[in-house]
């Protein structure tokens, strides 16, 4: 495929289950080599989207294009996409090697030995090839599942919450490895997650989903700094809602003296000051009774409960949603 068109395109994808609509007109385009995140809370339709692309379920309406070809009517084994399942779904009766060879054998590829060796090297599983899935660690299982899919050189690799089954300490490390791996193989990754930090740090493009629809598509900075809806704003991070505008805690400043003219400010009373290591989290109450959270530098000194302070922010840091009214 030499053209620069999207490798994967969804057009108005809709999926109905008895009694509810899981997907409602989802459209997106993934450029070749992208690390694309589908981000949303559970039940937002992100996993359904993945299953429709893989071909496990048929869409109710809409089209799926892979490399420019409509693949709606192809069976899963006829689509050049591959899935890394949330629980990895490694075949328990086959060794790591058996799992990695499985797809190659089904597709009748030659050069089995070399390709298997290369991909095991790529995911650093060399030497574990004769182990069974039950005999390797969680991180190794995840890499075996990746290897099993990557060895087929799919047009798009679908990853369903690939990090959620790992223990939290391992997660950050694996995140970095995954990003590096994607750059090396150059395959388009479409991954589903409910963790906004994961989506922001891994992907170069994020589609935020809510109730079966895509709320916003953009680069990580776009969706975080310029959210189009209140949902996107609050799903991607904490927000203080002040006078109809949203202000992120790290953009909410706090001072003992009245701030300079030209900034927006509100008087408040400090309720609590929590030491978070890299910053201080100050909870303050406005005259209206609303609680506002501000994150300030530890170097600016602490605040004590009961203190009268001024909360202020720059107009440029306000998140506004004129479209929502």
């Amino acid at each position: 495929m030499s053209n620069v068109g999207p490798v994967l395109e969804l057009r108005n994808l809709t999926k109905d289950y008895p009694g509810h609509r899981a997907l409602d007109g989802v459209s997106l385009e993934a450029p070749p080599g992208a690390f694309y995140a589908l981000l949303g809370p559970s039940g937002c339709g992100k996993t359904t989207t993945l299953r429709l692309i893989a071909g496990f379920e048929p869409p109710t309406a809409g089209d799926i294009f892979l490399g420019g070809e409509r693949i709606n009517d192809r069976r899963p084994y006829e689509r050049n996409v591959s899935t890394v399942f949330q629980n990895y779904a490694l075949f328990p009766h086959l060794t790591v090697r058996g799992n990695v060879e499985y797809g190659l054998r089904r597709r009748g590829f030659d050069g089995l030995e070399r390709r298997v060796r290369e991909v095991l090297e790529l995911v650093q599983l060399t030497g574990k090839d004769s182990r069974y899935p039950s005999e390797i660690s969680g991180g190794e299982r995840q890499r075996a599942a990746l290897a099993r899919s990557l060895v087929l050189a799919p047009d798009v690799l679908l990853l369903d919450e690939p990090l959620s089954a790992l223990d939290p300490n391992l997660r950050k490390q694996v995140r970095a490895e995954l990003k590096q791996l994607q750059r090396r193989v150059g395959i388009t990754f479409l991954f589903v997650t409910h963790d906004q930090e994961e989506a922001l740090s891994l992907s170069d493009r994020v589609a935020v989903m809510h109730r079966g629809r895509i709320e916003q598509i953009g680069a990580p900075e776009d969706v975080y700094l310029r959210p189009r809806t209140r949902f996107v704003a609050s799903f991607l991070g904490a927000v203080n809602w002040l006078d109809g505008a949203g202000i992120r805690p790290e953009a909410t400043r706090i001072s003992r003296t009245a701030p300079a003219a030209g900034t927006r400010s509100l008087p408040a009373t400090v309720e609590r000051c929590v030491f978070l290591g890299n910053c201080l989290q100050v909870e303050a109450r406005l005259a209206t009774g609303q609680t506002v959270v501000a994150e300030t530098s530890r170097l600016d000194g602490g605040f004590t409960a009961g203190e009268s302070v001024h909360l202020w922010w720059r107009a440029a840091d306000e998140l506004l949603f004129p479209a929502e009214g």
Partner: protein, 276 residues
């Protein structure tokens, strides 16, 4: 504590001892005795009952029993696997279908076997229906054939294959089947490479549960085979009734039991735990 445990286990041991181990010991004892003048038990102690088993006449019965039990097991597996697979994928109605599999047990096996006699005999349902349709002139000889015995055994023991195979299939993670298709496997490859290997424990359990009782079957060959194609079970029964040769009957019983146990041990190598 230990004493208490023993006290609670005592009833179970008493039942096992009185109803299982005791009779078994008796049968073992009888098998080394000689047939009495009027059919009872007599002296001297002997091994003759066992050497008699080597007679080609009995060898043929033994071979026929193994073949019949093997065939019944194979047919049961072929029939039960698709049914079990279908039930395992039936969603919320699974329990209903499982109940249906078990329903035949609500009636005595004897009554159900008699029912087959009524269906298969010359004036039975099948023959009269085929004649009424003009497909045949003379009734087909259905009853009192090896086929009738096989049919009866398969019919009787099919649920014992369906249930363990179902249990094994039901445990297979759906994601594995999706993963297989995702990796390029057509349905047949998924069946042979993933589903069947992963249901092997259930297949083994079902095979044992069908094969062993079929091997010792007595009622089915007697009623549906008409006593023409006798199996080990009939041989044993004959020795205890018509032939009044208890020692030989005991020897055959023990030989059958040992053969069955040998088979079980063979299977146990590949995980008898699955049976329990």
């Amino acid at each position: 504590m230990k004493r208490l445990r023993r006290a609670f286990l005592a009833p179970a041991w008493a039942v096992i001892g009185a109803l299982f181990l005791g009779p078994l010991a008796l049968v073992g004892l009888y098998s080394f005795l000689t047939r009495g003048a009027y059919g009872g038990l007599g002296q001297p102690w002997t091994l003759e009952n066992y050497t008699r088993l080597l007679d080609p006449l009995y060898g043929a019965i033994l071979v026929r029993s193994f073949l019949m039990a093997g065939a019944a097991t194979a047919v049961c597996l072929l029939l039960a696997f698709p049914v079990a697979l279908w039930i395992a994928r039936a969603g919320p109605r699974r329990n209903l279908y499982l109940q249906l599999v078990i329903i035949p047990f609500w009636t005595s096996f004897l009554v159900r076997t008699y029912a087959w006699m009524f269906l298969l005999r010359d004036t039975g349902l099948f023959n009269t229906a085929l004649q009424a349709l003009g497909l045949i002139d003379e009734p087909l000889p259905l009853l009192y054939t090896p086929g009738a015995v096989l049919l009866g055994l398969v019919y009787g023991f099919l649920p014992f294959m369906v249930l363990p195979v179902y249990a094994a299939l039901e445990r297979i993670d759906r994601n594995l089947l999706e993963a297989s298709a995702d990796l390029g496997a057509r349905p047949w490859a998924t069946l042979t490479r993933i589903v069947i290997p992963l249901s092997a424990p259930g297949i083994r359990a079902g095979a044992v549960l069908v094969f062993i009782p079929c091997l010792g079957a007595y009622l089915t060959p007697d009623l549906l085979g008409g006593g023409k194609q006798i199996m080990i079970g009939n041989l044993i029964q004959n020795q205890f009734t018509t032939a009044r040769d208890w020692p030989f009957g005991s020897a055959v019983s023990l030989a059958l039991m040992l053969a069955a146990m040998a088979l079980l041990v063979l299977f146990a190598r590949r995980g008898a735990k699955e049976l329990l």
